[in-house]
């Protein structure tokens, strides 16, 4: 255990000396859409704060902290298309809270002190909390033909690993970064909340797609 800590500490020191020498910038992620669930791109919007470091003329790295923009308490209204719950359909609203941290490393196809196209790899972690409020039609012997409100929630953790392609300006002064990403999310799968009636769209997606725009300033 001590050996592992020593190795991690050594790498951390090396990394910090590398990035301390680098040109850096602070970015605002405004916004990023990501396929955390199978609802597809455009369903979940994230914003956040990040940092960029140019390690050399052609390489850069960065770290981003992101969170969702699902501010209200109700979330998105959906209608289940399945009939698996007692043979009936269900209406439900889903609220998905997402917090994420992402590390990225990029190779620029031209000098990164000016606008350049880059390709890179990303490694992240997403903490998810899904709350489903369902109006479920129950058809039991005791209470036939009624809609009941059922609230279910659950948490999950995803570790998306992916590739990113983007166009970024030089860090000095103001800069922008327009990017797309594709990756695979390790970790949780299926529905996080214990709500067997929910639609596929509310289930966690192993395919992680990202499109985003970030604006930043640096020196």
């Amino acid at each position: 255990m001590k050996k592992r800590i020593a190795i991690i500490a050594f790498l951390a020191v090396c990394a910090s000396t590398t990035t301390l020498r680098a040109q850096w910038g602070i970015r605002y992620i405004l916004p990023q859409t990501e396929t955390v669930t199978q609802a597809g791109l455009g369903d979940l919007w994230l914003i956040g704060l990040g940092a960029d470091f140019d390690l050399s003329d052609r390489t850069s790295c960065g770290v981003d902290l992101i969170f969702d923009t699902n501010w209200n308490d109700y979330g998105k209204d959906r209608r289940s298309t399945t009939t698996t719950y007692y043979g009936s359909s269900a209406y439900y609203s889903e609220k998905l809270k997402v917090y994420g941290l992402q590390y990225r490393s990029q190779f620029h196809f031209s000098d990164n002190d000016r606008t350049s196209v880059y390709v890179g790899s990303t490694l992240g972690i997403r903490y998810l909390r899904q709350t489903v409020t369902g109006d479920v039609y129950t058809n039991s012997s005791s209470n036939s033909g009624n809609y009941d409100t059922v609230i279910a929630s659950g948490n999950g953790v995803l570790v998306p690993i992916g590739l990113r392609l983007g166009l970024r300006g030089g860090l000095e002064g103001g800069y922008a970064d327009l990017y797309v990403g594709v990756g695979y999310a390790l970790g949780s799968s299926g529905s996080l909340a214990n709500a067997p009636y929910i639609d596929d769209r509310s289930e966690v997606s192993p395919l992680n797609l990202q499109i985003g725009l970030a604006l930043g300033f640096g020196r």
Binding site: C14, S56, R58, S105, F107
Partner: protein, 502 residues
């Protein structure tokens, strides 16, 4: 160890440059001429041709210095670039191997596989210096010039092309001037068509007109940092005047300049500087220039200089005449000593003796008022021991030209000059016209006025305060006194082909 940790470790290790790249970080350093001692970051490492491998493991710039006896040391620096393939692999592995790679020399590669430095001979400071205006560069590359390629793409000529200088030929002269700097050739740029430029060309004994006949560049890199050879074929015309029929002699040089990573728009200028430097190394050039300079001198006598008649210096009478006139008399300082001179035009033209300025092209002129100005030697006439100088100033007091032919024997003559020491500047002595002499076919005014070393070039002034001669020499010896001679002012103006306009 768990299998996934092992896989991760292998992936990270294979990402390291030390494993992926066996070390293509070398560079062959050559020099022209070869066998120069190579210093890398101040440490002696070998002689050219020399194989260098980038050894600092931090991507820092490396300073090279090449030294060879008889040649000026040359320095250049090179910052290695990082291997893009390795950087790509590092980025794909989340940048983790980069932490180790950036400390490995194998990540870095020199920007060129070989580099040839140019060594230039030490300048011989004992050679006679010549003031030679350098006219704008003439492009004689034909209607469709083909200056070469950058990364195999043709180099465009024009305002937005790679060699932007070709659109601004005046800028090209600066490169040539850089090559001629600190040499026996005291080169100055002139822009013909301007008042100052035309005046300088008119006064020049010899003009250098550089002509670019061919440029052939094979460059690599980006616009901001290019590498590769630029071959230049130049024709250097040494002319008496700016007219094409006055070529006294010419030289043709073909040089190759290895661009060490300059900005693209700087590269051509540096290649021209290199070509000019190589021109100077022609061992026969100094004597050819000296001969042509003499020829140019003779030719320059043929060109008339028209000066405006100066405004008379005001004075009330004999009493304050000389006190007023000394303001137009100067001390001329050269490296060898000093002499005297006097202004004949309000815009800074001075007369003195040729032996005062000898082979100098620029001298210092100290005025009675205490200030000192640089003066250019405009014309000399060694036969009559005369020289015309020019200081860049206006509204200076100047002596009025008198009638030496009307001067009577026994008439009073004053000499003003700086005898012996510069502290004795503007000393006045008095004598009479002792006679008119013809010495070796030249007319002289003989006078008993005191002419001492340092007085040479000073004015001989008549009773009315006008200049009638240029104090030139005296005959001295045991028992001899009062035998001074001056060139009549009319002869001086005629032999220097000076016309005074009203």
């Amino acid at each position: 160890m768990r299998p996934h940790l092992l896989i991760l470790l292998i992936a990270l290790l294979t990402g390291c440059a030390t494993i992926l790249n066996g070390g293509s970080n070398g560079m062959e350093i050559g020099s022209d001429p070869s066998e120069a001692t190579v210093f890398v970051n101040g440490n002696q490492r070998g002689t050219t041709p020399f194989s260098y491998s980038y050894d600092p493991a931090d991507g820092t710039e490396v300073m090279f210095e090449l030294r060879k006896n008889g040649y000026k040391p040359t320095t250049f620096s090179m910052r290695p670039k990082m291997d893009n393939g390795v950087l790509f692999a590092d980025a794909m592995l989340l940048g983790i191997p980069y932490i180790a790679d950036r400390m490995s020399p194998a990540l870095y590669e020199m920007r060129v596989g070989s580099y040839r430095a140019n060594l230039y001979k030490e300048v011989d400071n004992d050679l006679q210096r010549f003031l030679i205006p350098v006219a704008s560069v003439v492009l004689a590359m034909g209607d469709r010039p083909d200056p070469g390629t950058l990364k195999s793409a043709p180099i465009k000529v024009g305002k937005d092309g790679l060699f932007q200088d070709l659109s601004y030929v005046d800028g090209l002269s600066n490169g040539i001037l850089g090559g001629l700097r600190d040499s026996w050739m005291d080169a100055r740029t002139v822009r013909t068509g301007t008042t100052k430029g035309d005046e300088m060309v008119q006064r020049a004994k010899l003009i250098l007109v550089p002509e670019v006949e061919r440029i052939h560049a094979t460059l690599t890199g980006e616009r901001r940092k290019v590498f590769g050879p630029i071959e230049l074929t130049m024709r250097w015309k040494f002319m008496a005047h700016s007219t094409s029929d006055s070529v006294l002699f010419e030289r043709r040089t073909t040089t190759t300049y290895d661009v060490p990573g300059d900005q693209a728009d700087q590269a051509l200028s540096d290649a021209l500087r290199h070509a000019a430097r190589r021109l100077l190394e022609d061992p026969e050039l100094p004597s050819a220039v000296a001969t042509a300079y003499g020829a140019g001198l003779a030719l320059s006598k043929g060109s008339t200089i028209e000066l405006r008649t100066p405004l008379p210096i005001p004075f009330d009478g004999r009493k304050d005449m000389l006190a007023a006139l000394v303001k137009a008399v100067v001390t001329i300082q050269t490296e060898r000593g000093h002499g005297s001179g006097f202004l004949i035009a309000n815009d800074g033209y001075l007369l003195t003796n040729h032996h005062v300025v000898e082979k100098e092209s620029m001298v210092k002129v100290k005025f009675e008022q205490g200030f000192t100005l640089d003066a250019q030697v405009v014309k000399t006439n060694p036969d009559f021991d005369l020289a015309l100088l020019k200081v860049q100033a206006s509204d200076l007091p100047a002596l009025s030209i008198g009638n030496d032919a009307g001067l009577m024997l026994g008439e009073e003559i004053f000499a003003i000059g700086t005898p012996m020491e510069t502290s004795l500047g503007q000393s006045v002595s008095r004598g009479i016209l002792s006679g008119r002499r013809d010495l070796e076919g030249r007319n002289y005014l003989q006078t008993d006025v005191s002419i001492n070393p340092g007085n040479s070039g000073g004015p001989l002034i008549d009773e009315t305060g006008k200049v009638v001669g240029v104090a030139t020499m005296k005959i001295s010896g045991k028992g001899l006194e009062g035998l001074g001679f001056g060139v009549p002012i009319s002869v001086a103006l005629q032999e220097l082909n000076i016309v005074l306009a009203p």
